[in-house]
Amino acid sequence: MSTEADTTPTARAGRQLPAWLEGLLGQMVALVIAIIGGGIIVMLVGEDPILVFTTLLRGAFGSSERIAGSLLQATPIIIAGVAACIALRGGLFNIGVEGQLYMGGFAAAFVGFQFALPAGLHMVVALAAAVVAGGLWILIPAFFRARFGTNEVVSTILSNYVAILLTSYLTIDVFKRPGGWSETAPIATTAYLPQLFDFSRLNFGLFIGLALAVGFHLFLTRTSTGYEMNTMGSNMKFAEYGGIPVRRNILIVLLCSGAVGGLAGGVETLGVHHRFMEGFAPGFGFDGVIAALLANGSPIGVIFTAIFFGALRAGSLLMEVETNASREVITVFQAFIILCVSAQVLLRRRRDSNQGERRWRF
C-alpha cells in the first residue's frame, strides 16, 4: 500500500492498521459473511447448519489421522496455489492450473511406470517430467499472450478441457492396466515420494509445497528480479515505461506458473495414488487458483488458505457420510468466500483502479 491513501479524506489519521492486518481483517469479515451464506444454503437444502459445520470440523481435525488427511488434501492445493500466485503477482491469470496438474500427473506416472531408475533419482526425474509437462502445457497460451496479447484467461481455461480429455485418452486407450479400471500400471516404488507417517498417505510433497511457497516469497521480497516482477504485476504499462521487458517476462512468468502447476500433479501421482487414474485430482487446480485469490496473491498466505481448503475437502468427506448435504456444499462455500473477498479487496484498492485503465477491456 502506498502512502497516497493517507492523504485522501477517507483515511483517518491515527486509525491506520498495518497493511497485512487490514488485509487479514478483510479476509476474516469475508469468511464470516461466507459462513452465514453457506449456512443459509445448508438450511435451504434441509440440513442443520450447526451439525454440518461441526461434522466438517470433526472430519477435518477430529484425530491425528484426520489432521494428516487434511494436510494430505492441502498438499496439491498449496503447490497449485503457488502456481496461481506466480501468475497473479506477474499481473496475469493462470486458470489452467487444473490442466497443467493433469498433464504433470500423467507425465510423472509415465516416467514412474515406464523406466527403471535407482530409488530417489527415479522420483526426481519423474517430478522433473511433471514440471516440464506443466510448462509445455501452458507454452502456447503463454506465447500468444506475450506476443499478441491473446487473453490468457480463456485460453488456459479451454486447455483444461483438452488436458483432462487427453490424459483420459492416454490412460484408458493407450496405457490402461490390463484388468484395471481407468488407470495406468502402478509406478515403481523407486519413484514414490516418501510417506511421513504410517497411518496416513501424507507425504514429502507437503514440504515441497511449503518450500515453494517460502521460496517464492523470498524471491519476491529479496531479489531485484522479484521486485521487477511485482512492478509488472501491479502496473504493466508503468513497468513497460520503466524499461522492464514486459513481453519476455509475461512468457517467463506464465511458463513458471505452468511448470509449478505440473509439479502439483506430479506430487499427487508420486505421493498419493502411485499411478495415474482418470479424474485423479478433481478440482485441485481450481482450488489452488481460489486459494491464491483468497490469499491475495501472497505465497505465504497460500499456505494457510490451501490448508483451510484442504481441511474443508477432508471434512466434506465425513460430512457427506454423516449428513444429507453433498460434499459440493463446500464448493458453494468457497465461491461465497471469493465473492466477499473480491468485493472488499477492491474497495480497499479503489484508488488504484481509478488511475490505470482496467485491464479487461476489449
Binding site: 437444502v45 485460453s155 479451454l158 468457497q334 474497495l347
Partner: protein
C-alpha cells in the same frame, strides 16, 4: 470418399445447427456485456444455472415454457449478482466470473442431491421437454427440409436473435448508450449517460440469453440435467466474443464454426476413433481460432468508439 460422404451429409448440417444454437444463444448474451465493456467469464455458470432451473421449472409447472421462464429468471439472478459485484462494488471481472462459475457448479450438484436424492444427473419422466416444431413448407423439401423443419423452437429463435441483437446494439438508443458506456465511459458520463446502469442492463440481457441457452441444453434436444452439462460452451462463447469484439454477425460465424466442430466430433465418435480424442476437437478448434484471430482488433475498437461518439453528439445537437 465413401467415408467422407457418410460424415458430411444432411444430418451433419442439421446437427451443426443444433449444436450451434446453445453456443450462439449464450454468445449473443455476451455481446451485450462485451459492448458494455465487461469481460464476462461468468457465461458458463449462468448457462449451467439456466439449464438446471429450466429442468426444475419444467417439473414444477409441468410446462416446457414454464421451465424456460424459470431457467431464464435464475440465470438473470446470477447475471445481476455478477453486475452488482463488478459494476457497483468494482470487483475484478475475472475473479467474480470465476467465483460464480464455481458457485453454479457446486450449487447445481448440491441442489440435485437435496431435491432428487441423486448424484450427477436428473433424469425423470416428469421433465417436459420443448416440443419439436413442424414447419409445413420447409418440411416438404426433401430430407434436408425434413431436418430443418422440425427443430425445437429455441434453435430457430437463436438464429433470429442474431438479427434482433444486431438491431438492438446498432440501431437503438439503448444499444448506442451501452456501446458508449463500454467504449468511452468518461465520455459517456460527460454526455449524461449513466454508465453503471447501462452495464447492469447489459448484464441482465446477457443473463436472459444465457438462460435460454441453458434451457435449450436441458429441455431442447435432450430432456435431462447432468452435472457441468454446459461443458465449456460458455467459455467457447467468450472466445468468440473476444475475436468478434461482440459483433453479432461475426459471433454467428464463430459459433457456426464451433457448432460444426461439435457436431463433427459427435459424428467422428461413431467411426471407432477414441471418444476422448474426438471430444477435444471443439476445444482445439476454439483455441486455434482464438489464437489466430485475436491480434489486430484494437484499431477497430478505436474507430467504433469515434463513430458512436459522433452519433451521440449529433443526437444531442
Amino acid at each position: 470418399m465413401e467415408v467422407l460422404e457418410t460424415i458430411f451429409n444432411v444430418s451433419l448440417i442439421s446437427a451443426t445447427l443444433r449444436t450451434t444454437a446453445p453456443i450462439l444463444l449464450v454468445a449473443l448474451g455476451g455481446t451485450f456485456t462485451t459492448k458494455a465493456g465487461i469481460f464476462n467469464i461468468g457465461l458458463e455458470g449462468q448457462m449451467l444455472i439456466g439449464a438446471f432451473f429450466a429442468v426444475l421449472g419444467s417439473i414444477w409447472t409441468q410446462s416446457a415454457w414454464g421451465g424456460v421462464a424459470i431457467g431464464v429468471l435464475a440465470a438473470m439472478c446470477v447475471a445481476l449478482t455478477f453486475s452488482i459485484f463488478v459494476v457497483t462494488l468494482r470487483a475484478n471481472e475475472v475473479v467474480v466470473g470465476l467465483a460464480l462459475n464455481i458457485l453454479a457448479g457446486g450449487l447445481t450438484i448440491t441442489l440435485t442431491k437435496a431435491i432428487f436424492g441423486t448424484r450427477g444427473s436428473i433424469v425423470s419422466g416428469d421433465i417436459v421437454g420443448l416440443p419439436r416444431m413442424h414447419i409445413p413448407i420447409v418440411e416438404d423439401l426433401g430430407s434436408l427440409g425434413k431436418a430443418l423443419g422440425s427443430f425445437t423452437p429455441l434453435i430457430y429463435l437463436a438464429f433470429i436473435f442474431v438479427f434482433v441483437v444486431w438491431v438492438i446494439i446498432y440501431r437503438t438508443r439503448l444499444g448506442l448508450h451501452i456501446r458508449v458506456a463500454g467504449e468511452k465511459p468518461a465520455a459517456a458520463e460527460s454526455l449524461g449517460i449513466p454508465t453503471g446502469l447501462m452495464q447492469h442492463i447489459a448484464s441482465l440481457l446477457c443473463g436472459l440469453f444465457a438462460g435460454l441457452a441453458g434451457a435449450h441444453l436441458s429441455l431442447g434436444y435432450i430432456t435431462m440435467f447432468a452435472e457441468n452439462m454446459s461443458s465449456g460452451r460458455g467459455f467457447m462463447a467468450v472466445a468468440v466474443l473476444i475475436f468478434s469484439i461482440g459483433d453479432p454477425v461475426k459471433v454467428l460465424f464463430g459459433c457456426l464454426l464451433f457448432g460444426f466442430a461439435d457436431a463433427l466430433s459427435l459424428r467422428l465418435q461413431t467411426f471407432g476413433l477414441s471418444s476422448y480424442l474426438v471430444l477435444t476437437v471443439p476445444y482445439l478448434v476454439t483455441l486455434g481460432a482464438l489464437f489466430l484471430l485475436t491480434y489486430r482488433q484494437r484499431p477497430k475498437t478505436l474507430r467504433e468508439t469515434a463513430e458512436s461518439l459522433q452519433l451521440i453528439r449529433r443526437e444531442k445537437a
